[in-house]
Assembly symmetry: D2
Homo-oligomer: 480 residues x 4
Amino acid sequence: MGLRTVNQYKEGLRDGRQVWILGEKVNDVTTHPMLKVGVETAAVDYEMAEHPKYRDLAVAKHPETGEPISRHYYLPKTAEDLLKRHELIVTATRLGDGVIPFTKDVAGDCLNAIWVTSQVMGKEEYIERITDYYEHVRKKDLSIACGMTDVKGDRSLHPSSPDQTHPDFYVRVVDQNDEGIIVRGAKVHITASAYSDDTLVLPCRAMREGDKDYAVCFAVPGNAKGLKHICHPLRYEQSPLEFPVDVPIRMHTESLLVFDDVFIPWERVFLCGEWQYAGTIAYNFSFFHRHTASCYRIALTELQLGMAQAIAEYNGIDRISHVREKITNMIIYLEMLKSLAKASCSDPVMHGGIAVPNPVISNISKYHFAENYHNFVKWVQDLCGGILVTAPTYLDYQNLELKDYIDKYLGGKKGIPTEHRLRMLQLIRIWMASDIGGGIEVLALHGEGSLQAQRMIIYGEYQNQLQEYKERAKRVAGIK
Amino acid sequence: MGLRTVNQYKEGLRDGRQVWILGEKVNDVTTHPMLKVGVETAAVDYEMAEHPKYRDLAVAKHPETGEPISRHYYLPKTAEDLLKRHELIVTATRLGDGVIPFTKDVAGDCLNAIWVTSQVMGKEEYIERITDYYEHVRKKDLSIACGMTDVKGDRSLHPSSPDQTHPDFYVRVVDQNDEGIIVRGAKVHITASAYSDDTLVLPCRAMREGDKDYAVCFAVPGNAKGLKHICHPLRYEQSPLEFPVDVPIRMHTESLLVFDDVFIPWERVFLCGEWQYAGTIAYNFSFFHRHTASCYRIALTELQLGMAQAIAEYNGIDRISHVREKITNMIIYLEMLKSLAKASCSDPVMHGGIAVPNPVISNISKYHFAENYHNFVKWVQDLCGGILVTAPTYLDYQNLELKDYIDKYLGGKKGIPTEHRLRMLQLIRIWMASDIGGGIEVLALHGEGSLQAQRMIIYGEYQNQLQEYKERAKRVAGIK
Amino acid sequence: MGLRTVNQYKEGLRDGRQVWILGEKVNDVTTHPMLKVGVETAAVDYEMAEHPKYRDLAVAKHPETGEPISRHYYLPKTAEDLLKRHELIVTATRLGDGVIPFTKDVAGDCLNAIWVTSQVMGKEEYIERITDYYEHVRKKDLSIACGMTDVKGDRSLHPSSPDQTHPDFYVRVVDQNDEGIIVRGAKVHITASAYSDDTLVLPCRAMREGDKDYAVCFAVPGNAKGLKHICHPLRYEQSPLEFPVDVPIRMHTESLLVFDDVFIPWERVFLCGEWQYAGTIAYNFSFFHRHTASCYRIALTELQLGMAQAIAEYNGIDRISHVREKITNMIIYLEMLKSLAKASCSDPVMHGGIAVPNPVISNISKYHFAENYHNFVKWVQDLCGGILVTAPTYLDYQNLELKDYIDKYLGGKKGIPTEHRLRMLQLIRIWMASDIGGGIEVLALHGEGSLQAQRMIIYGEYQNQLQEYKERAKRVAGIK
Amino acid sequence: MGLRTVNQYKEGLRDGRQVWILGEKVNDVTTHPMLKVGVETAAVDYEMAEHPKYRDLAVAKHPETGEPISRHYYLPKTAEDLLKRHELIVTATRLGDGVIPFTKDVAGDCLNAIWVTSQVMGKEEYIERITDYYEHVRKKDLSIACGMTDVKGDRSLHPSSPDQTHPDFYVRVVDQNDEGIIVRGAKVHITASAYSDDTLVLPCRAMREGDKDYAVCFAVPGNAKGLKHICHPLRYEQSPLEFPVDVPIRMHTESLLVFDDVFIPWERVFLCGEWQYAGTIAYNFSFFHRHTASCYRIALTELQLGMAQAIAEYNGIDRISHVREKITNMIIYLEMLKSLAKASCSDPVMHGGIAVPNPVISNISKYHFAENYHNFVKWVQDLCGGILVTAPTYLDYQNLELKDYIDKYLGGKKGIPTEHRLRMLQLIRIWMASDIGGGIEVLALHGEGSLQAQRMIIYGEYQNQLQEYKERAKRVAGIK
């Protein structure tokens, strides 16, 4: 078997998995009116491999066999490999109209982090298991979600702290035997787990010795016994209040993923008790994944900048000085992000034999877009005018008593049809002043780890350089 | 007649006005499921006058007759008068759980601006008309919306510019006779016009001689022939996805207010052709109204800061240093706003015989909260975690298969019920990561005029001081 | 005796005090070429009391005897008292061309803080002593420096920590007997101590029980045995590279103030071992002193804004949009500061029977100007052009071979003499791009306590309000 | 002839050039106590070529002859060439302890810009002249200053505007004949012209047809008749108030460069009247030069970050949370700069056959460091404490009466000698709170063009992308 078609991917999801949404059990995620939107979004990765225009980008050669594999599952050895991966994710997100397909991208992030850790740890059995699993993923062309964030309970306490209400706020091993381990706990806001073949579960932080039951990493199929996906509802159809648009809706769901004593066979366990390496996985994942985030943000930001320029023109204000300044701010925001994202690939570190995006830069890149995103939103909203959130609806527009008034009075610059202006405002409202817009703000902050998480890593990874620069300063100060 | 009861206010709205929402004509705004939420919100001003605890604040003595009148309709003569008005609006918004009742507050802003302008202009007939109307409003205890923002068309052009698609992008006088004038045009995002007795229509900018047909100011009853209120839909009931809350929903609607050749009798016309005074009205309105905005923002921000502190505690992070820094940022934001809002009252200017909130400070006050609001939202979202937008819904919580998982896994700090945490997250999501939250972001920017409008006035009003300080600098530089 | 003349003030300084500057012992601070500049600057406070125009502002009536006393030594009981004091300091600093006279202003801050603490403590002897000393100060019309900041050693450690290199990093009591106490230690950057009659020494932080030897507060005359003033050099004459200016130079020096086992009689001791009250003094001092700082910054900022406007005009750029935006930023900075400084007076808290500037607001006020000052400098430098730091010197200008070139080529806007432009650039360079300018940047940050000190107090003083707002949020969230 | 030695470079400067400093004529710049510091700083570029460790970096092969030439004079054809140049400038500035040698770096920027323009213009004679001059520079291994910024007069007016006081505010051609042209005017803050062999004079802005006399570009030797260098004084020796340091002082001077009817032979004229290409030169120079600026800022910022870390440790505060946050801010600032500077090389555009640093990114890179530098300074000053500007001087330290007090009381963390702490504070004061520090702040803003200049180019160069992104947004909005 090799690369799968979209239909094969969908077929694989009809496996009896336990999925709920809006309080109801879901029979088939590929046909459920909400969830199928997520499925179609994830499918973009499979479509690209079938599409002549994108095939070369989406498909790589297996390093040993030469067989075609998804480029997401190609272990990066050089800056160029990382830059190719970069291009793939940016392109896929552009195809998704600002939404990343996600299930292979993040899969690569996880697999690479586990790979690095097994090499660094040097334990033969782990190296073998991750090698075997990596081959399995390539051959079956799997989609994989990433189970990273534990529910955590009291965030100021360690997993094993007795001050937690119960011991299950972080996923942990509650039992083990010859065949494998039993895990309990819950991971939260797991994107696309409901329509991924497997989920890779990683520790979300560095741990202490007392936390060793929580130092666990494994792969689990979406239909494992005891695994429950409780999905958050997502936008899945146009509102009747909106002008109809024939571009497909792209969106994902996040799940609360409950492990109700789930059995994991040993061959899918990649860490179990080696608490010293929990941080190694978590950190290396973050280096890859924060770069991945930067990639999809590039594509999203390009689109948002396009919206801003369009509405500025439609409102007749694109030549006004404060508007140009705001557009310039947005350009700077976007181009800084692009430069940082690429620089994290161009200047990788080698960990465990593979090229890892530069830890400091990939974290700064993510931090940059997250820290400044709310201002970006402000600039765009500023260019729209209050009409962004007070415009008559499409229902009003269909009322013949009202349509002429709307067409007459809500026009902007001469020559631009009122409907174009209203459609652009609608698009901006959906992305930047709505439930979805709020979700994207929060995603910027918390997806791929919080601002403070990035700052801690940036500082932590910079200790050697700080000391080097200090020594230079001492010399120039005449301190001997 | 004197102060009206809530029921009398509602009764007055059943007057045959032409109101649409969601594309449908509305029979009775006081019973329409959406619009009645706006009516109830506006009614808070009437309730306060009936409530023993707030009566002293809400009611003033008529300066001549001594009769009780709404304090909103008391012409301010001193800093103390402005500070009382300040306290009234802050208190009313606290009672509205963060939403200002609005229809008397803004009415006062308009009336005062028209009053000042008539005095500055010195035209007897205008002085008489506004005096009469002011008395009428006091006696009938009216609610009044403010029709300020024209639809504008191409924002870079003047009202009378031949490059506009048509001449009606700003409300204008199309005809006049012995009885009055005929006006045409549309005003946009007019809050609460659908459930206000009258609307006061003001020019929204300074004008040139060629714009004189657009230099028009008048009062119009909500049911005037040819006046059409096209309302934006508003939140009016709880979603079944939300934990039920028994606090009433407070919310307003904004209308596109169309003047389809509406007749205005001369006694309700306060400006008609005197283009030099269009700016006088617009500016004086802004001095009052930007202060009013600061008042309601104070009450809203207090509530939002409370949410932030609550969720920080529930998440167990309130003692962590970066969290304290963010809470401190929010305190600074709020207390700066409070100081600026009060300072604009304490240091008024006298225009046309009344005390006007300090032009520079009231504009800075509004600018401060608007310019920095998106960062405030960021800080709050940051303290919540991603769960803010991915939490299971109340529908999930009602499913007995899922409830225990949710209760167990979504708990935070020991001792805080999970439901409390989810309720607080729900409240924050509604206010700061949703359609409503997006609306509030845009309202911060565009309600009461855009950021750039404030900056222009701040700079414009500061010319004398700039020259004074320059002269000091010249002396110290030894320039003679 | 009552108010002193400038000469009497100077006479008092010829008392044998031990003062060094540039490594050399100073005989008479009033005639030393550097130090006399500080003396003259401090003397502005005495001049004002003699000047008919300022006398009413500078002089108050003794609350009991009705005798004239310096308004700085009038215990504030109301918001109005604080506002008068505010006006006095702003005016004095304007007279000092941006430099505060300082020795009475800060004296008031100290005296008030000690007064509050003695009242709060309720110890009769302390109340008597501070009352007596207060009367003494009023009668003798003394100038007083404030010895606040200890040298501290390792800033992460407490005064009594055994990990400090020695126990004397904070001033402490090393012995005591019937007559008084012996103190040892050093206070750092003590402005104007070298030319103040007395110095009031206060603890600079809250303390623990183990620190009780460090919980000491007292007054000491400038010539006390064992007291050494090691002064930092100051600008005292014009450079020959500068265009001559006949406005007097105003400047202060800061001293390292060494207490080499100095004896303090009991009647001048206001705290000795009551470690619980070290914080009370330090905090109350900060509430007054941070307000004082805001006052002098108002006067300084007005002058700096005047420089910015002047150079913008001279360069011909004052109508360019980005320049207007920068000027607008500066106006906002200044007017926010003014509003905050006044609001801290208008909304005082009563501590120990006197009106104390609002703790939260006075700290925000100081924080505001310090946090944003470097940007203010940036905006001004931006308007100048690089010529700010590369302009030919006055020595070049005096060379006849060069003068014509300079006059011709360094002109700006037509009609402005080149010399005016160069003089304005010179003034800006002195204040904002020089040793002095660097000093002012650091003063903004560290004078009156660091940014972090303000943030800690803002947060600490806001705990009750945080809980109140939290309760509101809980109610609205439906949490019971 | 090939690469020159340092001595040969110095020898070349003894050529009778007309140089003034402090109002006095200078005989020999290489021995003048101030100017020789600039000479030694510039000489670093020559030293590197002689130094075995740096020779490979500093020396390239002539593309045709293979002879050794300075790498600065190697026309970049690829991203790799630009990255090599990048490394060279960063390294040279590290060797200069934060100061760029400058005379070859900027020479390359100028030469490349002129080269591009001649190619774009396609005029044979210009191509030949610049080719010849380029060879001449390589063979003679010249140092060259860049005469970019005109004195400008009224900055809101064009060079030829009749509202300027006189027509010579921009360098212009006043006459021409068979041999060459006569130029008049002045260029301002021309770094190192006094000790560069030649100066390349470029137009500093885009021009209109009426400005064609001002559209002139040429090379001129430092000793040309009528050329006058009026130098700004520079730091050239240690102050007796400072702890002696045996690291050489590195510093440059800027000159007002007056062209008093200077003759330029045709073979050194690269533009003369082709006003359409004035902007081409100016812009292409800015792309190179803003990248050059980023390079030297990297080396400088590393050193400044080292100072910050050192003083944080010496003060015992490096583990305190707000200090770590500030250090983290500085790391982000530096690493963003590094990423942007490299990205501008990695993603060049090809203009006139050579690789030009990416216009948008090189401008953002410079904008980033300039816009945020004042905050960087604030963070460093914050970590120092007020002692930064109030510390006793070295004169005090040499006084035996005072030394022990200073040693005892100004110590910080245990184990760090007080002298080390004072030396580090001294170094920080020199760089970040002094005349020099003020100069560096202004240099950040105005060296290589003002903030607004960068913003204009960023916006201008982005028009195609704006339209592309707009089209994407239209498609997603359903606009056809």
